[in-house]
């Protein structure tokens, strides 16, 4: 086998392996976050591990402590919603109706104990009216 053949064959194997990895990543088991609905569809007993959850902060649900070290809100998905209690640093722009990602543990009681909130960028950049 010549060097060129070997290089080509190696390239093919590596490309295939990488594609395979990308495909697996695209399937649901390998995600940066889960949606609220996906999380709640799991059996309650299997919810007790660390995940990131994505959803909207529900209207009239956000309560931020005065020293900004904790907050509680409802995380709203497409069909269901979940109560979240979060301790830890909060982003400055945390408001109601915003897309967020919460990192933390699920509790059997139906409460989600978060320790970090990331606000997500809007999917459309609008000019400010100011």
């Amino acid at each position: 086998m010549t060097t060129t053949h070997k290089l080509c064959l190696g390239g093919i194997v590596i490309t295939m392996a990488t594609t395979c990895l990308a495909y697996m990543g695209a399937s649901s088991s390998w995600q940066f976050y889960m949606t609220v609905d996906e999380f709640l569809n799991q059996a309650p007993t299997s919810r007790d591990y660390r995940v990131r959850l994505s959803g909207k902060v529900g209207h009239d649900s956000l309560r931020i402590a005065t020293d900004r070290t904790s907050a509680s809100f409802t995380l709203v998905g497409a069909k269901s919603h979940l109560r979240v209690e979060c301790r830890g640093p909060l982003p400055d722009n945390l408001t109601e109706g915003l897309d967020v990602v919460v990192e933390g543990h699920g509790k059997n009681s139906g409460l989600f104990q978060g320790d970090k909130v990331l606000t997500r960028c809007a999917s459309k950049y609008d000019a400010s009216n100011l």
Binding site: F32, N93, L98, T119
Partner: protein, 236 residues
């Protein structure tokens, strides 16, 4: 490309032109483009972040292709191309991480998170750095070029992962959001401005490397003609 072909790179008017374009583009990003509604002023970092990110990827692609050409032809000229791409690309990649981090702090409320695109970009930066260090750490030029090129080729695997990370994997990093037309135009202008500026930087660095090579060659020829310089010449 020979050294003389790159003469235009050092023309002063070209430098002024490109720098002027870059300044205009940046000015547009700072002043003309409207402020974004939800993120405010900090969103303006987008124009720089996207431009350098694109150049960081481009730099690695250029480095990879030149590395492959070097390995095929064993011509040090290709290695100089790949080295210039490595240096400029590393700079862009570092700037991408830096500007992205600032933006993330304002927009997401964190400096860093292990989002797929962020992770793969960090890996790309690490690969850039490894190649850069490798170039310096091996003395023999062909040996150094060969080993660095192999690593650069290997690193090419990461490139599609960075590009497709937001499409293949679910993450927090935005995928080409919709924008106001003015914003779009500003972004386009910035991408063009940055691309021209860093291309000029790349070509100048390339020319510098070529000149350096030429100088060393001339020095060597002088050395071979007079293998043992007379002792008295040492003081002069």
């Amino acid at each position: 490309m020979q050294r003389s072909d790159l003469k235009i790179v050092s023309a002063r008017w070209l430098t002024w032109l490109v720098t002027g374009l870059l300044v205009a583009a940046l000015g547009m990003a700072m002043r003309v483009a409207p402020m974004e509604q939800s993120m405010g002023q900090v969103q303006r970092i987008l124009y720089i972040h996207v431009s350098v990110a694109w150049l960081g990827l481009m730099g690695f692609a250029v480095m990879g292709v030149c590395a492959m050409l070097y390995l095929l032809h064993r011509n040090m000229a290709w290695n100089r191309w790949s080295q210039a791409a490595n240096e400029v690309g590393w700079l862009c990649s570092s700037l991408t991480l830096f500007t992205g981090s600032i933006w993330a702090h304002a927009a997401w409320g964190t400096w860093w998170t292990w989002d797929p695109r962020l992770t793969t970009s960090l890996l790309l930066w690490a690969l850039y750095s490894s190649c850069l260090i490798l170039r310096g750490s091996i003395q023999e030029s062909h040996r150094s070029a060969r080993i660095t090129s192999s690593l650069a080729l290997l690193g090419l695997i990461d490139l599609p992962l960075v590009i497709m990370a937001t499409r293949w994997f679910r993450g927090i990093h935005p995928t080409s959001p919709e924008m106001e037309p003015v914003m779009h135009f500003t972004l386009l202008l910035n991408v063009i401005g940055f691309t021209l500026f860093f291309s000029l930087l790349f070509l100048r660095r390339l020319r510098q490397l070529q000149t350096d090579n030429l100088l060393r060659k001339l020095e060597l020829e002088a050395l071979v003609n007079h293998p043992y310089p007379p002792l008295s010449a040492a003081g002069g």
